[in-house]
């Protein structure tokens, strides 16, 4: 194949070259790519320099990398739309403050529409060993982040520059199951995939995933077109914790989804929230923060963590290999863990903040507020279970299932035909 005439060498390599397995990557991880990233935009992360380093040597190597980095006062930041504070006049007050306090100018872009397509966009660039054009990106825990780990496409963080993080990060953000020890990531925000609904249109409250089977809701139910939230929610629906689910459970979850299909209007992307606000949908799988933010337009909307449980996810800040300004990114990542900055973000974003000290700040704001509407707003923020989930909720919240390559084939074959039908 690689010798086939006419086929571009990059395509041939990309499609055929065996990659490092995870174990091998853990030994030499980061280094091949890191070293090359320093010398010149060289070779993809999957081509290692061949060393066989143990844990300590690896840490030393990372330390050496970071000690060579200089602050450049430039940071190119890729994020999701509507995922940072927006002020009057000035674009993003928290970024302006950051520039004022550190001297680092931020080029902020909202180019990430969903993990899968964003990954599809950057993978060829990173594979070719090129600079992706930004230094900081926000990726959800799941297939794509696992892929970035496995392919060695993230720069391990400088643990000595994470003092705010280690002081203020909530238990949810610290040492997450998908990135033990926060080697590569720090949480940006987290959210819950539950059910958003309009009790006025339905005529009753929704409490369970099985409420979405109700024939009265035919054509008014929205589900997600993805192979992470959708299957995990179905697993919750049949009473299984997705994290420890077995292939037999997956079949049952797929059956549940097939049973539910006749009620489903569409398997949605981000557009579900518009349909829910308009009333095209009466009940839909929904992200907690979206529903909270939409209540401003449609106060009838409710969000529920179904009694069978739901998926909780975290969007993570991470630095791609070959980034030009890794130190500036590192400084920013830790900066946002100061409670005052985290509060600025949470105030606008309405998802689960990784800094629990934000709650007392909102309570104080509510007390100090002079206008009634401000008081109400901050009271809602500080008591909302969508932003500060209660311990009882946490017991029902599960992480996504982490899949091996073989399992992923099985998983996709089961769930893809459901939302691509």
């Amino acid at each position: 194949m690689a010798n086939e005439p006419g086929l571009g060498p990059d395509l041939a390599r990309g499609l055929t070259e065996p990659r490092l397995n995870r174990r091998r990557f853990l030994q030499i991880g980061g280094l091949g790519a890191l070293g090359l990233g320093l010398t010149a935009c060289g070779i993809p992360g999957s081509k290692s320099s061949g060393g066989n380093l143990g844990g300590q040597a690896w840490r030393d190597e990372i330390g050496k990398f970071w000690s060579q980095q200089k602050q450049t006062n430039v940071l190119n930041f890729e994020n999701w739309p509507l995922y940072i504070d927006v002020g009057k006049g000035s674009d993003h007050p928290s970024l302006d403050l950051f520039t004022k306090e550190t001297g680092i100018k931020v080029n902020y872009k909202e180019d990430i529409q969903d993990d899968a397509s964003f990954y599809g966009k950057i993978a060829p660039v990173l594979k070719a060993g090129q600079n992706p054009g930004f230094d900081l990106m926000v990726i959800t825990n799941g297939f794509e982040l696992e892929n970035l780990f496995a392919r060695d496409w993230l720069i391990p963080l400088d643990q000595s520059r994470m003092s705010n993080f280690y002081t203020y990060a909530s238990d949810l953000a610290k040492d997450p199951s998908y990135d033990r020890g926060n080697v590569y990531t720090m949480a940006w925000q987290s959210g819950i995939t539950g059910i958003g609904y309009n009790p006025k249109l339905i005529g009753k409250e929704i409490t369970s995933w099985n409420d979405l089977l109700d024939p009265k809701l035919k054509g008014k139910v929205g589900m997600f077109a993805d192979n992470q939230d959708l299957p995990c929610s179905a697993l919750c629906a049949i009473g299984v914790n997705p994290e420890i689910s077995t292939p037999a459970d997956w079949t049952k979850a797929a059956d549940w989804l097939k049973k539910q299909r006749p009620s489903v209007r569409k398997y949605y992307d981000q557009s579900y929230i518009g349909a829910l606000k308009r009333g095209d949908l009466w009940a839909s799988m929904a992200w907690s923060g979206d529903v909270f933010a939409s209540q401003a337009d449609n106060p009838d909307l409710r969000f529920v963590v179904p009694k069978e449980g739901a998926a909780i996810w975290t969007d993570n800040m991470c630095i791609p290999v070959h980034a030009s300004h890794p130190l500036d990114a590192m400084i920013y990542m830790d900066y946002v863990y100061q409670p005052r900055i985290a509060a600025m973000l949470a105030d606008y974003i309405n998802y689960i903040t990784p800094v629990s000290a934000v709650q007392p700040i909102f309570q104080k704001e509510a007390k100090a507020a002079t206008s009634k509407s401000d008081k109400q707003y901050y009271q809602n923020l500080s008591t909302s279970p969508m932003i500060f989930p209660k311990p009882a909720d946490f017991a029902k919240l599960h992480r996504y299932r982490v899949l091996t390559a073989d399992e992923e084939v099985k998983w996709n074959a089961l769930f893809e035909p459901i939302y691509q039908a």
């Binding site: 990659r19 054509g219 569409k266 095209d280 074959a413 691509q420």
Partner: protein
Amino acid sequence: MSARAIRRRLTPYVLVLPGWLWLLIFFVVPALSMLSVSTMTGDDLNGFKQTFHFGTYVDAWNQYHTQIVRSLTYGLIATVLCLVIAYPVAYWIAFRGGRYKSSLLFLLLLPFFVSFVIRTQSWEFMLDDHGMVLGVLRTLHLEGILHTVGLVGSGGQILQTSTAVVGGLVYNFLPFTILPIYVALERVDPALLEASADLYASKAVAFRKVVLPLSMPGVFAAVLLTFVPVASDYVNAQILGGAKTTMVGTVIQTEYFTNLNYPLAASLSFILMAVLLVGIFAYAKALGTDDALEMAAA
């Protein structure tokens, strides 16, 4: 043969060389490499290896034949609707447009200066449950008609049904139907119509025996230019479609860019291509014009 004669015989081939090279580099080579990808096995992490595994084609068909058949059905319905709308429009512009012909053609194309996605998205606003279309019909108490004809979904919606998807397809590809028909009709010499009138043909007969046959190459080209892209479209079904309207184009896109399952995406593409080619040749045969392609290109 003198050197001069040889050179003269070779000249046409040399002149056509850029065209052949173009086809070779941008069609033959990619097609061959995709063909070889389609029989590989593996996964993105460990890489794909050539194993000549033709089973992928069987899997692709078993898993997604519904979507392939649906794409062809939508393509057929949309093409027929496009023809029905396009022919009178093209006829009118060609024979009645007079000195406004170019302005009329420009007006026809004007909406298409707006991005494809935005145009389709605006259909969503028009068709939603409280939008212009359903709202007006509801006020006029005409909603029942849609139900009787079966054009609405289980929840009484238009959006997220086949109706919406086919409607979007017709709208978006209409110019590709109108323009070739227009070109063919424009070339019909008005003197022929006068001649047929002199020979006592009624207007209807003149249309049936003179205009229609002369415009057939245009119709053939229009069908090709409409049916092929419609059947492989992946935008309309995604924006206007619902739980049961996915077209094979969307599946291919997802398999390729999201799931990085290159062999499956490649084999789906080849299945679609094969089906389309068979359909087109059958159509050309049925039309009785083996050289219809030639005529269309003329």
